[in-house]
């Protein structure tokens, strides 16, 4: 008998807890970029700024005077590569530059959806890259069988 009276109580408590949990999560809705504010200052308008050609006059970008193009430097030396599996935040749908310094030509595999392949020469080269779908995207050197960076695209 005790159990039957207490069951609604338990249910209520459960719902309240889940409700609280839900509210806690809701705080993030208005400003989804709060967690990665450093790199995300240029991403709120990502959906509109996909037309890259207009970048000369960024009229809609009032906070940042000159949006810095995100750059990831990658160095291949023999059997090693730097970085080595780091995670890097990357804005969604914007062009980023991979600046590659290598002692031998090779190929990077970008495990985005869909997959992309980037070939580079020996010496220093700059490869542009755009990821149009949010997620964790691994950039892998197939020759070395190493993950170079994990791009956190949002």
């Amino acid at each position: 008998m005790r159990a039957t009276r207490l069951t609604p109580l338990a249910t209520t408590l459960l719902l309240v807890t889940l409700g609280v949990a839900g509210c806690g999560g809701d705080d993030t809705t208005p400003e989804p970029e709060t967690s990665s504010s450093a790199s995300a200052s240029d991403s709120p308008s990502a959906s509109e700024s996909t037309s890259e050609s207009a970048s000369a006059t960024p009229s809609d970008n009032t906070q940042t005077p000159e949006p810095e193009r995100p750059t990831i430097e990658i160095t291949f030396e023999g059997d090693t590569v730097t970085p080595n599996g780091e995670r890097v935040a990357v804005p969604l749908g914007e062009e980023i530059d991979l600046v590659i310094t290598a002692d031998a030509p090779g190929e990077l595999h970008v495990h985005s959806t869909p997959e992309q392949e980037l070939a580079y020469e020996a010496g220093t080269s700059t490869l542009p890259l755009v990821i149009d779908q949010p997620g964790i995207v691994e950039v892998e050197s197939h020759d070395l069988e190493l993950v170079v960076v994990q791009l956190e695209v949002r």
Binding site: A10, A21, P32, I136
Partner: protein
């Protein structure tokens, strides 16, 4: 090697492209707090006399549904459907090209391994109904005039589910550790060995072998206990998922099955984490060894923690302490399903669609046998990471709540009265550890 076939070289380490973003920290914490509060609430206020009883629970399903699902025509139709699909995919595996657009890989890793879970939760034990090895065994028995239920020997009950646990481990090893897991040849070999062992086992021990030793059937039938479909005295009944879960047949090795399922999924999250990737890539220990050890540690670790949680209680004279992990193992099933949903939902939805597109062209020649070749894959889920994160945490928490209730009911049934509350504490701690650990991996990996 070195062939310019895009598919072959591209994915040395997995299929399905981008992975999910980590869930936000505040959501992970909210989920963890909810798990804690709910656990102790259940312990404090839930019923004190067992509520679920397989012999009486459930109400009869509509008579027409019972007649339909128990009819020979229905069973044969499902077997034929399953077997046709099996032959279709086997043809792709044998005659198709060794590229990632061969649907065999997607069917094996996505539709079968992950799709089995929602299919079984919604429809009941689906693998049992369509399993090709059961079908072959039944046909052979029909031809030779014997009974597929019985084999040459009686299945040794001491073995219990252990063969299935080993089979499941063989699967997750292939998927998560074996470096060539996305090449057709090795996966085809794995499947051939699986079918071969199933046929020999079926001939030796009859259908009992499939109930206890077929990894996919054990997985599917276990998860199907969270569906509303059950049987009582040969009649189809509709039960609450919790009452249904209570009817999981307890046998040795059940704890091994749930440990492999939960441990391997946790390892799959963990191995994507950047610090782990960095460690594996910089250490001088061969990565094959590390991966093997890590998967084993996760599975054995889950089993040991759970077993310790179950056994750290006072028991009555009629209960052997060493049987407790298997007796309570059913309560991990909802936790597994919640975590599988959290971990694999995007993969199932998005790579599942890709697989259905690929299925139309099994030999990679530009065919369109099923008319699905031109379908567009819908990536809505990936583009709504906030919604996805909430869904994941919700699934984990619901799974945790169901698991705690299931364990509580089992505890009040088998533990002596004075140990009923304290005896559950250690198990509760183990479950909270699994859930919070799972949430942490969703946040950090």
């Amino acid at each position: 090697m070195g062939l310019p076939t895009a598919g072959r070289d591209l994915l040395a380490h997995g299929i399905g492209g981008a992975k999910d973003l980590p869930i936000p920290l505040e959501l992970a914490i909210a989920g963890a707090v909810a798990a804690l509060v709910v656990s102790f609430t259940v312990l404090a206020v839930a019923w004190r006399t067992p509520r679920y009883d397989a012999a009486t629970s459930g109400r009869p399903a509509p008579a027409w549904l019972d007649r339909l699902t128990s009819s020979t025509a229905w069973r044969v139709a499902l077997r034929v459907l399953g077997f046709v699909f099996f032959l279709y995919v086997a043809a792709a595996a044998v005659f198709g090209q060794d590229t990632l657009v061969n649907p065999f890989l997607g069917v094996f890793y996505t539709l079968l391994w992950v799709g089995l879970v929602p299919a079984s939760v919604l429809l009941g034990p689906v693998w049992k109904a369509i399993s090709p090895s059961r079908t072959i065994n039944a046909v052979l028995a029909k031809v030779s005039g014997s009974d597929p239920e019985v084999g040459m020997y009686t299945y040794p009950e001491r073995l219990g589910y252990w063969p299935a646990a080993v089979g499941l481990y063989a699967f997750v090893w292939l998927e998560l550790v074996y470096p060539h897991s996305t090449e057709i040849g090795p996966v085809r070999l794995w499947c051939a060995m699986y079918i071969g062992i199933m046929l020999i086992g079926g001939a030796l021990f009859g259908n009992r072998f499939y109930e206890r030793a077929d990894p996919f059937e054990v997985y599917s039938s276990l998860v199907a206990k969270l569906s509303v479909w059950g049987h009582r005295d040969g009649r189809l009944v509709i039960r609450s998922p919790l009452a249904n879960l209570d009817t999981v047949p307890v046998a040795p090795g059940l704890v091994g099955v749930v440990a492999v399922l939960f441990g391997s999924t946790a390892y799959d999250s963990f191995k994507e984490a950047s610090p782990w990737v960095k460690f594996v890539q910089t250490t001088s220990i061969p990565s094959g060894l590390i991966d093997n050890v890590a998967l084993l540690v996760f599975c054995v670790g889950v089993g040991v923690i759970f077993a310790a949680g179950c056994m750290a209680t006072g028991v009555g004279p009629d209960v052997r302490r060493s049987t407790l992990p298997d007796v309570f193992a059913h309560s991990v099933v909802p936790i597994i399903v919640g975590y599988i949903i959290a971990h694999y939902l995007t993969y199932l939805v998005e790579y599942g669609q890709t697989t259905i597109v690929q299925l139309s062209d099994p030999f990679s020649r530009g065919d369109d046998y099923l008319g699905t070749a031109d379908l567009e894959v819908n990536y809505w889920l990936s583009f709504h990471p906030d919604f996805l994160a909430r869904l994941k945490v919700g699934a984990v928490i619901v799974g945790h709540v169901l698991g705690v209730i299931a364990a509580h009911d089992r505890a009040v049934r088998i533990l002596p009265r004075r140990h009923q509350l304290t005896g559950q504490l250690s198990l509760l701690v183990a479950m909270v550890f699994f859930t919070v650990g799972g949430l942490y991996l969703l946040f950090a990996a």
